[in-house]
Amino acid sequence: MKAEQERDFVAYVTGRMPVLRRVATQLAGDAHRGDDLVQQAITKLYTHWRRASRAENLDAYVYRILVRVFLDERRHSWARVRLADSPADRAAPRAVDDVENRLLLRAALAQLPPRQRAAVVLRFLADRSVEEAAEILGVTPGTVKSQTADGLASLRRLFAASTDRPGVLS
């Protein structure tokens, strides 16, 4: 890769880093694993930068890499039973303030199926359009719509269950 292309790569990645980290964190369930996803994704992006930089929608290209890294990781971990306690398994606090809400929501998000979670994160946290999310996930726009609707419904249900306050999200 030429030095100029490499500078473009670094500039692009540095500029997008905050939103990439935020999206990856919500996909992975915690910031540490989210950063692992970003690290893998930008490494892949570097190797494909010549083609990627010519993409009509570079952001969508990058999100596609990120989501596939995430789904690959999930696909392999799905083969394994959950043997250890994870934050989502622990008893949720009864009282809810903003911080606790976020923790509970994060735990609820972690319980969504991977592709449903990816659809929710791409649509509402990465602010991708239905069409862009569909392209990134390799599904139809209709599937994105149904997955995001189902995902939000599940979030409401899971959050209500964890706070033991039915309808708290409605």
Binding site: D35, T43, Y46, T47, L155
Partner: protein, 375 residues
């Protein structure tokens, strides 16, 4: 709280300082570029990307492997109504195979001390077993490659895996009469150091034993542990892979992997799972650590001791009278296989296709697993 408040809460979630290193991505990306160029020159079929786990795997395969024939592999794949002939793996005169039959084991362990085999995966170009102790903190990964496999590891920098010439490692005492080398090791995702010993078990075919300890490291020194497993290990056709079910090979696919996994839940109860994974007949990689660009969708059919709560997702439906969890890629049906669960992952398939595949799984009694699981 409404949907917008939910999403706002996510957006406002503060993040800790970044652990992402752009310069490392550039450094590793450059190295990948060089490896890709080399691989392309050698007629390589794929590019390895940053894997979740750092195990050696196959980057390129030498001449003699029939990479252009989509029918190569195990089973009798069929596509669009036309059956394709099953071709047995080619075995050269020196008996070091260029491919393994995924329905045959090639690792035979001797005395493993306090370690037991937790998982064993068979694939066309490599096989991998993971041994653990009771605590799960000490693990030994054993990977055997078929002839011509290119070793690929993460190095001590913790970066993405890349091609490694094992003979550049530190020479050490022979294993089974073969020259052996200590190799730089790193577990990419969890950042643990490993003691990795490699030697050629056959002509241009390597086997690696990598010991890792995630505890404070007060147990057996890792090099001694790796050496003890290596000394008891034999690489040979060790027999068939018994499978607890049979299933019709999904259309346009062939068997790519088998995985047998055994563990203990937190509550002390045993857990066992067996997977058959099918790949596209036109895909010659069969490698779960390849980059997304190289991946083709894979279909996995599992029978396991899973019960609701063992895996992500809640029970949300019933299937033929059994509790079930539908996922974006498939379904798990609890108790459907003589009390065990059937788990199907088939990305892109319709609900009807997934249902049909679940019904095509025929469980076998515990005492009578089959060596011929492909219908």
């Amino acid at each position: 709280m409404n949907d917008e408040q939910i999403l706002t809460a996510f957006r406002e979630d503060a993040l800790p300082p970044s652990e992402v290193d752009v310069s490392r991505a550039v450094r590793i990306g450059r190295r990948h570029g060089r490896v890709r160029a080399l691989a392309a020159g050698a007629g390589a079929v794929a590019v390895l990307a940053a894997g979740a786990i750092a195990v050696p795997t196959v980057l390129a395969h030498s001449a003699g492997r029939n990479t252009s024939d989509p029918a190569t592999g195990v089973g009798a794949p069929y596509c669009n109504g036309a059956p394709l002939p099953a071709i047995q793996p080619t075995t050269p005169p020196d008996a070091t195979p260029t491919e393994f039959n995924p329905l045959r084991y090639w690792l035979h362990f001797g005395d493993t001390g306090a370690l037991t085999v937790q998982s064993y995966t068979t694939a066309r170009f490599w096989q991998q077993a993971t041994l653990t102790d009771r605590s799960g903190q000490t693990t030994v990964d054993v990977v055997v490659q078929a002839r011509g496999g290119q070793p690929v590891f993460a190095d001590e920098s913790g970066g993405a895996p890349h091609a490694v010439d094992p003979t550049t490692g530190t020479p050490t005492d022979e294993v089974g009469g073969h020259p052996a080398f200590w190799l730089p090791g790193h577990q990419a995702l969890h950042q643990y150091q490993v003691a990795r010993l490699g030697w050629q078990w056959g002509s241009n075919a390597w086997v690696f034993v990598a010991a890792t300890d995630t505890s404070s490291g007060t147990g057996t020194p890792l090099p001694a542990l790796a050496r003890s497993i290596a000394d008891g290990l034999r690489v040979l056709d060790a027999g068939p892979v018994p499978v607890p079910f049979s299933v019709k090979v999904p259309g346009c696919t062939r068997l790519a992997l088998t995985t047998h996994y055994r563990a203990t839940r937190d509550d002390g109860t045993p857990y066992e799972q067996f997977d058959l994974t099918f790949g596209d007949v036109t895909d010659d990689t069969d490698n779960p650590l390849l980059s997304p660009a190289s991946m083709t969708p894979m279909i996995t059919v599992s029978v396991s001791d899973a019960r609701p709560g063992d895996k992500p997702g809640s029970v949300d439906s019933t299937f033929d009278g059994h509790a079930a969890t539908r996922t974006s890629a498939g379904m798990i049906v609890y108790g459907a296989a003589d009390g065990r669960a059937i788990d199907v992952s088939a990305p892109g398939w319709t609900t009807e296709q997934v249902d049909s595949l679940v019904r095509a799984v025929h469980p076998r009694p515990v005492v009578d697993w089959t060596e011929n699981p492909l219908e």
